[in-house]
């Protein structure tokens, strides 16, 4: 076996170096995208886990109540538990310091008088505490900075750090620098520690804590402590190990993870196609060689193993290179994804290094090799079946290509039937995905006959364009549809993927824009920080009355939104005045009666949920939802399901009075301000800003500004979609380059014959060019056609398993218009070198080629 590889395969691979390289590139791309995307995702998750672990220190359990926090009284309750050793309160806020290029800074508020029992503040200068702890506590501007952040921004002990606060920019005084390890390494080293009570004031948190970190008393077990605290605090509190935050974060990122995994899977699938094509052509070319080997005594098994050995070799080389490229891709994607998720969720860590999990590396490598073997399996089997007598006959034409063998016809009909049957029974996930798989299989099987049909349709056009070369090119495609069908199928699949991703992105974008038009209709939005997602800084509700008295203001709506844990997953809860919102906003109902739903919700007898949440958590109108809060459990039915894009994982909406009652939280994240007709907006805006000047940090956005802000966030999310489209396009281009190169090389003898019977070189060159461009166009057409079907399935996947969103079907014409010239150009460029190679070689060599 090894001897066959060395004596037969190796010289062949070396002789056809370009084809070998292109085939390997298919594996490289598949493995690189798979590893890159997966590692990027893992890096973000690992970064978060690292942050949690670094912040936790010796913490064994954490008491939380979602993102909202709880009153200070809970601390004494926790400390009174017999199994609690040390309990230290914490609040966290992510701020953007007023230093150019500083990025986000995580400020952790702790009680320095007790916190050092849980966390090590390893300060530069060898001390375990700040120079003067009493001054640190007495002066609310005190902060300890991580060394990394301090160095990056030229800060030292005694420096001033300007940071946005509830009362405007506050200049914090650096009173210590933490060594870059442990706590100081969290959040990519962009971390600061300050007194928790000063932080409460600075960020408008009232007398609340975000969580309590605790260590169990000596002699007690963590489980016993957890049970005692659960009984003591009630269902509104979660008492979990710090690592649980990691799994909650993971569930929040489910949509991102699934999208990324889909891209990876498609990249591998198309990579497999490229390899299949290369091996199928190789088997055709090497028929004579196979015949000789068989005549010399090689068994069918040996031939099959020889081809599989070649594919394994390419798989190993391609996977190895793919792993290297994948790490580079992961680096770029992880940083982007980390920054994006940090901005979106305000919780993720900054990704400093890419997770190089040996298991992931090993899996990527193994998948690459396995994909290569799987792709080569059918060609290898065909090679084993080659009849030596026929194969060794000089001039024996390649086996006649059959457009649709009976088996192929039956297979195609069967897959189409399965796909059609599944289409009407999509409520079952297994059937839906079976239908999707059958549709892909049907599309692949139909690629050859459809290519043939399109080639016939194109023939008159090509002939009109160039009578000789056009006819030759069209005839070549009509005569051997199987030869180019793999290239076309690979192109079709890649483009279908690009169309689907583009379509989902476009539909999502349009839906969100439409939602912003109907929901975000106030004239002005008053917010406490520049970032809407921050929620680190909040307003007191006393501002409601103050804003109402501003001249020209007709209505002010306070809004509070925060994630609470609903069925173990952090879920966005939005609290507002239902009556007021019902009067001013026309939320699009999916289920439930308007205005009854608002009346019921306003009276605290129900809540509204977004359609995405209803889909993802299997919620229906009338279902009772239980939301455990620190001060009781909200137990009300769903009275309305509406279209809402407040959060990607869906949202729940309750009346503000219910929120205040059960969470004891009256703070406000945003005031929606309506202004009377004929009132100058800029005047009202100025009035509001002047009213709070030097008293409170206030940002006033106009309707247009807020919408642009929201759309800006959405666009960032679609950057990921664009990256997916880009991957699909790269795969498509690689596929067509590979397939066309292989195809032209494969036809060297045929092209030699053309030259031998008098065709001049430019004619041969033009024939190859026209044929390549035609293959590109056919692939493009089929890609658009299958893309239209693929988009339907992708929208369904997004609805049922990724985001729960009902997105309207919109064919991404702009994506196709952008892709078309790129694909045609790629097809043309792909044909340049093989065409030159074919016509510049010795005629005899070409005639001998096989």
């Amino acid at each position: 076996m090894l001897r066959l590889l060395v004596l037969v395969s190796w010289p062949h691979l070396r002789k056809h170096l370009l084809r070998t390289m292109l085939t390997t590139a298919g594996i490289v791309l598949g493995v690189a995208v798979f590893l890159g995307m997966r590692s990027a995702n893992q890096s973000v998750l690992r970064g978060f886990t690292h942050m949690v672990a670094s912040l936790a220190g010796k913490t064994e359990l954490q008491v939380t109540a979602g993102e909202i926090g709880f009153g200070e009284d809970i601390l004494e309750k926790v400390q009174s538990a017999s199994t609690v050793g040390i309990a230290a309160p914490v609040i966290e806020a992510i701020v953007t310091p007023d230093i150019k290029g500083a990025g986000s800074l995580l400020i952790v508020g702790v009680d320095m008088t007790g916190d050092q029992s849980l966390r090590q503040y390893d300060l530069e200068g060898g001390d375990d505490t700040v120079e003067d702890p009493l001054v640190f506590l007495a002066q609310p501007d005190s902060v300890i900075l991580a060394a990394d952040f301090a160095r990056r921004n030229n800060l030292a002990a005694g420096s001033q750090l300007p940071v946005g606060s509830v009362i405007g920019t506050k200049r914090l005084t650096v009173r210590g620098i933490m060594k870059p390890s442990g706590l100081a390494s969290a959040f990519g080293g962009n971390i600061a520690v300050m007194d928790i009570y000063a932080a409460q004031k600075m960020f408008g948190r009232g007398r609340t804590f975000d969580r309590i970190d605790l260590a169990v008393k000596d002699g007690a077990t963590v489980d016993a402590c957890r049970q005692e605290l659960r009984a003591l605090l009630g269902a509104g509190f979660s008492v979990e190990r710090p690592s649980t935050r990691g799994s909650q974060f993971e569930s929040m990122l489910a949509a991102y993870s699934k999208t990324i995994e889909m891209s990876s899977a498609f990249a591998l699938f198309i990579g497999m196609f490229i390899i299949y094509n290369a091996f199928a052509v190789a088997v055709r070319q090497r028929r004579k060689e196979i015949g000789v080997l068989r005549a010399l005594g090689a068994t069918r098994g040996q031939i099959q193993r020889m081809f599989l050995g070649e594919s394994a070799l390419l798989g190993v080389v391609g996977s190895g290179i793919g792993v290297l490229f994948g790490t580079l891709i992961a680096q770029a994607v992880a940083q982007w994804l980390g920054a994006f998720i940090a901005d979106m969720f305000r919780v993720a860590d900054q990704v400093e290094e890419v997770a190089t999990n040996p298991w992931t590396l090993g899996a990527a490598f193994a998948i690459g090799v396995a994909t290569s073997l799987l792709a080569a399996f059918v060609p290898a089997r065909e090679a084993a079946r080659v009849d030596p007598v026929h194969a060794m006959r000089k001039g024996e034409p390649e086996a006649a290509t059959v457009l649709m063998s009976p088996v192929r016809v039956l297979s195609t009909l069967a897959t189409v039937a399965v796909a059609g049957w599944c289409l009407g029974r999509g409520s079952n996930s297994a059937i839906f995905y079976l239908g999707y798989a059958a549709t892909i299989a049907a599309a692949i099987l139909l690629a050859a006959p459809l290519s043939w049909l399109l080639a016939r349709i194109f023939r008159p056009v090509l002939t009109a364009f160039s009578p000789i070369e056009g006819a030759l090119a069209a005839d070549s495609l009509i005569r051997s549809p199987q030869r180019s069908s793999t290239a076309i199928a690979a192109l079709m699949l890649s483009l279908a993927l690009a169309v689907a991703f583009g379509g989902v992105g476009l539909a999502n974008y349009r839906s969100i824009v439409e939602w912003t038009q109907t929901t975000l209709n106030p004239d002005l939005f008053v917010i406490p920080s520049q970032s809407l997602e921050a929620r680190s800084i909040r307003f007191p509700d006393s501002m409601l009355k103050e804003l109402t008295t501003v001249k020209g203001v007709t209505e002010v709506q306070p809004l509070r939104n925060a994630r609470v844990v609903f069925r173990d997953v952090p879920t966005m809860l939005v609290a507002f005045d239902m009556k007021s919102i019902a009067r001013t906003v026309k939320l699009r109902p999916v289920a439930g009666k308007v205005p009854d739903m608002y009346v019921e919700a306003a009276a605290g007898r129900g809540l509204l949920v977004s359609d995405s949440l209803a889909q993802l958590r299997q919620l229906s109108l009338g279902d009772t939802v239980e939301l455990a809060a620190p001060y009781g459990t909200v137990q009300v039915p769903i009275v309305g399901i509406i279209v809402d894009y407040s959060d990607q994982q869906g949202s729940m909406m309750i009346d503000r009075s219910v929120f205040t009652k059960y969470w004891h939280d009256t703070s406000v994240d945003m005031f929606r301000v309506y202004v009377g007709p004929d009132v100058e907006l800029s005047t009202v805006r100025e009035d509001i800003l002047q009213r709070y000047e030097k008293k409170r940090q206030v940002f006033v956005l106009t309707n247009g500004e807020l919408k642009n802000y929201v759309i800006g966030i959405v666009s960032r999310w679609f950057a990921l979609t664009s990256a997916q489209v880009a991957v699909a396009v790269i795969v498509a281009i690689l596929g067509i380059v590979n397939a066309l190169t292989v195809s032209v090389i494969d036809r060297r003898r045929e092209l030699g014959i053309l030259q031998a019977i008098g065709t001049i070189r430019p004619q041969v060159r033009h024939t190859i060019w026209i044929e390549a461009v035609t293959v590109g166009m056919i692939g493009l057409l089929l890609g658009c056609g299958f893309g239209a079907v693929n988009l339907y399935y992708m929208l369904e996947i997004v609805r049922r398993d990724v985001m729960g969103l009902h997105l309207e079907y919109v064919f991404p014409v702009s994506t196709v218009l952008m892709l078309a010239p790129a694909i045609i150009l790629a097809a043309f460029v792909a044909a340049l070198w093989p065409a030159e190679s074919a016509i510049r070689g010795r005629l005899l060599d070409a005639l001998e080629y096989e």
Partner: protein, 261 residues
Amino acid sequence: MKHTHRIQHLFTAALVLAATLRPVPARAADDPRQIVEESDRRSNAKSQRYEGILEVVDSNGKTTEKRWAFMRLGSHGTSKTIIRFTTPADVKGVALLVVSHPDRASDQWMWTPAIERDRRIALQDRSTRFFGTDFSFEDLEERDVNQYDYSLVGDEAVDGAACWKIQASPKQAKSSQYSRSVLWIRKDHYTMARIESYVKDTLARRLEYSDVREVDGFWTAHRLSMSDVRRKSLTRLTLSKVTYNVPLTEDAFTVQALRRQ
């Protein structure tokens, strides 16, 4: 009868160890426990005031200074104390309220005028340093005499004053960062002269009392020096304007009172 003694109590009279001029019972002279009890008894005042200067000298010789006004109502296990910092400017107004309990750790609150907030100080890890000084929170607690076993090590003079040298070991039920302490109690008026505290047989802290003068019938050390042997740092407390049994009322020792400047 329950007794507490204040081996190293900063806030209460432990830092100001005093002794009455009453005669010493003869049996106390050879019983270490009775010596400690007598020392405790002699410092029993209804109330106390003083002004303190706290100097912390770090291992590099850098010194920081703070001043405070101290007042205490009651003594031993039932005392209430308020310390209000007066200088420097960045800690001025910061106040601490300590309510001692004979049977458990004291309750403590801190008032921070800059944010107008009081906070409860949860003394969960009593080995933590007290606001950057060389005292730990445990060093500041009043200790129940009954929670220690005592043995008389011998006689030894400190700064020329004859002392009993007594070893105090926490009983099994008592949780302490220290494995044992050695106390030097002056024979002339039962005031503490020195305390050395050990962690696993290694000397961790040494507290020395000096400038002992009689004030209102109580022998009072006006200068205390706590050195952290491991950190090689030193904290000095100097007392002035010491008075005892001054008229103070309960309502001056509440969290509400803490907020009043």
